[in-house]
């Protein structure tokens, strides 16, 4: 199978063809990705220089890409353009009119505040860097009460469930609800650290809570394995199908 795909003249021709060499999903581009993938997976055999090289390439590329993306996606459209404004454009037969953006120079006032962050490198003036950090922390902290209310109160309210099979509550639903309520109580009892758990009853509920937590962690570990395996399967697909063309593409 390998010989039928990789060693065909068409495969090699496509690899070295100058047409559309760097287009999305072009073979030269995929080949670079495949070599780097193999480099990273080579660690599974043992630590080696090829792995180190690919790791450094990855870190360097990610850092460089992030800088470009931050300028292009954040600083330019969200700060520079609003500050300097954009002239409007009249309608043409091909394009509709585009309204301009009025310059708002007040955005420039953010620059010195943000620049204070660089004082973190100075021993003498390091305290200045805490000003922008303080603004960010203050903004974040101010929202937390509301955030807690929106996120967790519905969760707590949801624990009040009917455990008696009456009306719309079927016996199966009542049993299910009972399991939820008992689990909730015994797991919470495990986290009672304010006083020593001398009561036999509390000790037992606490132990049960710990066991149920372990069941939960086991389930989470299972789903973790599912994610990791699917990521590996996708890499195998990339190497075998997209790169080596050993099967039908999606």
């Amino acid at each position: 199978m390998l010989a039928q795909s990789v060693f065909t003249p068409e495969w090699w021709q496509e690899l070295f063809s100058p047409d559309g060499r760097w287009l999305e999903n072009s073979l030269p581009r995929i080949t670079i990705g495949a070599i780097l993938t193999l480099g990273l997976y080579s660690l599974l055999y043992r630590e080696n220089k090829f792995y180190r090289f690919t790791e450094h390439v990855f870190v360097g590329l990610a850092a460089g890409f992030s800088v470009v993306a931050l300028v292009k996606e954040v600083l330019w459209p969200l700060w520079w353009v609003p500050m300097l404004g954009v002239p409007g454009r009249e309608a043409t037969p091909d394009m509709p009119a585009v309204p301009g953006v009025e310059a708002a120079w007040l955005w420039g006032a953010l620059l010195p505040v943000a620049a204070l962050g660089f004082f973190v490198f100075s021993k003498k003036h390091g305290w200045l860097s805490r000003i922008p950090i303080g603004i960010i922390v203050g903004l974040w902290a101010g929202q937390q009460l509301n955030a807690f209310q929106n996120r967790f109160l519905p969760q707590i309210a949801d624990q009040a469930r009917p455990i008696i099979p009456l009306g719309e509550t079927s016996p199966a639903m009542a049993v299910n609800n009972l399991i939820v309520v008992i689990t909730w109580i015994v797991v919470l009892s495990y986290f009672v650290y304010s006083f020593e758990q001398k009561s036999k009853f509390l000790q037992r509920t606490s132990l049960m809570g710990r066991w149920l937590l372990m069941v939960g962690f086991g389930a989470i570990f299972g789903t973790t394995m599912m994610t990791r395996f699917v990521l590996f399967i996708d890499r195998a697909y990339y190497l075998l199908i997209e790169w080596l063309r050993l099967g039908e593409r999606l």
């Binding site: 954040v74 969200l78 394009m95 699917v230 399967i233 075998l240």
Partner: protein, 301 residues
Amino acid sequence: MSQDLQTEKQKATFWETMHAVDRRWLYLILFVVVSILVTNPITVPNVEDPAAEALYDYLSGLEEGDFVYIENDWTNSTRGESRGQFEALMRLLMRKKVRFCISTLGDPQIPDIIRPILRQMAKEPGNNNYEEGKDYVIAGYFPNLEAHVSGLVNNIRDTVKEKRVGGRSIIDTPVFEGINDLSDAKCVVVITASGTINLWYERIRAKTKLGLMCTAVMSGENIPYYVSGQLVGIAIGAKGAFDFESLLEKEWPEEENPGYKNFTSGRRYMSPLFFALMLLIFAVVMGNVAMYQLKRTGRHG
């Protein structure tokens, strides 16, 4: 007596080997199993998860011209799970002629990853030749998670107005016609491989419905939000993608709709995943039985 001792010694040697097998052999077996099934996938049957079905049913019930806001927070690092989910969601929205805006909080690479995927998908039969700037917009990357989500909830137009497509602000495109507040959106769908969904739980203030497509590892902490009604539905991992694909197939069968593409990575990755998990279970069982046998014969440790 001597023969019994010899047999016991041989048994112990086998279990010793099982207990101390070089993990690289396991990697090799895994690679072989996965390779066979990736190149020769087996079509497996599917029973849709009710939580994924709930999300699909809600979105499938939308009408032409409705608006959905999509928070798309995955990159190539979780492509195996997230891309299948993303593609299935896009197919559903395009076929229903639902307008959508996509932004990201996770990684600045994301707009460049999804743009070619969307262009390619728009050409598929049934996807109504969706065009950027007319049927959908990509609002791009926003760096401050808290500020961005709060901004969207408080004033969606003001938050995204600086992002442009074809020289004009995205809020001047037909996609944002009649959308003055997040409550005008029928739903926010978060496709994520990280904790960005938590910001939506905290800040959405019931302005609209919230749906989630997440990686399998995130399911444990997010299913309670579906049970409590904070999520309209949740699609989990590659299985969630497969669920969406199966439901697309039920609504638009490929046999009756020539050229339609319902199945992608969700179905394709199910059989390798099944056998990989079987291998894992086998290895864990063998390792534990080996440990037990070695302890029994006093050879462990």
